[in-house]
């Protein structure tokens, strides 16, 4: 079922922000739960748009990439500096 992209983005952002309070980094798979009706690719595209808008951010370990909410949790940069 096709999902409205703006609605989906809103849901992802709410879901991620709620989750970020206790777990600041999440896998793309975790974000699927934001809207069970959305297809994985729709979630991926919406989440990537949120990154472009600066509302989510990427966190890369080199082998995997996770999503974070800016301002939540320590960024590795800060942690290491």
């Amino acid at each position: 079922m096709a999902v409205n992209k703006e609605e989906l983005k809103q849901k992802i952002l709410e879901f991620a922000t709620k989750k970020a309070a206790h777990k600041s980094k999440m896998y793309i798979k975790d974000l699927y739960k934001a809207d069970p009706n959305a297809k994985p690719r729709e979630v991926k595209n919406a989440a990537n748009e949120l990154v472009r808008e600066g509302k989510l951010e990427f966190f890369s370990s080199g082998s995997t990439v996770m999503y974070g909410v800016p301002g939540f949790g320590k960024t590795t940069e800060e942690a290491f500096e």
Partner: protein, 428 residues
């Protein structure tokens, strides 16, 4: 000499004593030419040897805007001792198909990297990328800008993304190529830009393209989706050239093993007897091949390249699921499509890829490669989602790896057959 400080590194220096050139020499030379990063790197390595543990931390929100891959953050955990490598990020740069460069390009890249990074590179990473080793966070965007605006290249893949596709030299230099590997590699790179630069998957995904079953990029061992050129008609035979090989007029293996005297070329011993499917023979002075039985191993063609050539009805074999992990054993790709025509725009192949990705994105666990998912869920399930028919080639030997099972709806009477009545007729 430039104002740099060399650390005391007795254990690292020991590495220079062996018979082969050592990275320690190279890095030190670069350092003494004015790169403190290189000398700090060796200093930290010495410390790691002493402590028997790494002093690197990796990961973080480093990257260029909008990209979720291509940069691998690295930080020293002893920055006070080695301040020039407090940040030491790696940048992966998408290599051109088949890794063709001209020296102007390489010079420019080296100048760029001397200016904005440590000057150290690794050509190439195991995925194929050019790897630029070591720079600071604030240099990332400028490097990216120069790469894209001045050099006409892009970052490669890292993280849970499509990794940079790679291919063999293919038709550019190799007469065995059955498919245009460079064109395929470039097309996949362009088509899947989003997957390459932004995290899309449970884990990494790799395409590798080899032009023939010699598989020079080791696609079968290292890629989630291996595309290997093949042919479905007959091996082309030039009987006169066969005779020339037998008469010693042509050198077998194009002279590759001629540094030692192996005696006269013996077609029976060196080709026919070594054919894995025993499908060749000499008859009335002519070489005959039962092409139906040929498994495209390439041995006969490699041995007598002037006499034998792949057929002309060419395409690719698609295999899925290889990985070379650190913890569990390596796994080779499994054959899934014996033959597919690979011609632009490759729609049939891309349809297949879409189905596979959709399944993997839905079912794959975090950090689970496609090969592991196929193992966990069964090849049968994989074939179902990819809408492929099981074929005998998918089974290594009868009964040894029964990947393909019957479903209840495929068996007469289903699972509810009366076992007692069956046993009345057949002893256990």
């Amino acid at each position: 000499m430039a104002d740099v400080k060399k650390h005391d590194t007795p254990m690292v220096d020991d590495l220079k004593k062996g018979p082969w050139p050592s990275f320690a020499d190279d890095i030190e030379e670069k350092g003494l030419s004015g790169k403190q990063e290189c000398l700090d790197l060796l200093g930290q390595l010495e410390l790691s040897f002493k402590h028997k543990e790494t002093h690197w931390k990796h990961g973080g929100i480093v990257g260029v805007f909008g990209y979720g891959g291509g940069v691998i953050g690295r930080y020293s955990d002893v920055p006070d001792m080695f301040p020039s490598i407090a940040h030491f990020h790696t940048i992966r740069v998408n290599q051109p198909a088949s890794k063709f460069y001209n020296s102007k390009f390489l010079r420019k890249l080296c100048d760029l990297w001397d200016h904005r990074g440590s000057g150290m590179t690794n050509f190439h990473g195991s995925t194929g990328d050019m790897v630029l080793l070591g720079t600071k966070t604030e240099e990332l965007e400028p490097v990216f800008y120069d790469l894209t605006h001045q050099m006409g290249c892009d970052l490669g893949g890292s993280g849970s993304n499509l990794r940079t596709p790679s291919c063999c030299v293919g038709k550019a230099r190799c007469e065995y190529a059955c498919i245009d590997t460079q064109e395929i590699c470039y097309d996949l790179t362009q088509t899947f830009q989003d997957e390459l630069h932004r995290p899309a998957f449970p884990y990494k995904f790799k395409f590798k393209v080899s032009g023939c079953p010699n598989d020079c990029v080791a696609a079968i061992a290292r890629s989630c989706c291996s595309i290997i050129g093949t042919w479905r008609d007959d091996i082309r035979i030039d009987q006169d050239a066969v005779k020339a090989y037998m008469a010693g007029e042509l050198k077998p293996n194009a002279g590759a093993h001629s540094d030692k005297d192996w005696g006269a070329f013996d077609i029976q011993k060196e080709v026919i007897d070594l054919c894995p499917s025993q499908c060749m023979k000499m008859e009335d002075g002519e070489l005959k091949i039962n092409n139906r039985e040929c498994v495209r191993c390439m041995h006969c063609i490699n041995t007598m390249p002037e006499a034998l050539r792949p057929g002309t009805d060419t395409g690719a074999t698609i295999l899925c699921g290889a990985k070379a992990p650190i913890l569990e054993g390596a796994q080779m790709s499994t054959l899934v499509i014996p033959f597919i025509k690979m011609e632009p725009p490759y729609d049939e192949f891309k349809d297949f890829v879409d189905k596979v990705w959709e399944w993997w994105m839905e079912e794959g666990k975090n950090r689970e490669r496609l090969g592991e998912l196929i193992q966990r869920k069964s090849l049968q399930e994989f074939l179902r989602i990819a809408e492929l028919k099981p074929i005998p080639q998918m089974v290594k030997e009868p009964r040894s790896n029964p990947y393909v099972f019957w479903g209840e709806d495929e068996v007469e009477g289903g699972w509810k057959r009366d076992v007692k009545a069956f046993r009345a007729r057949h002893a256990a």
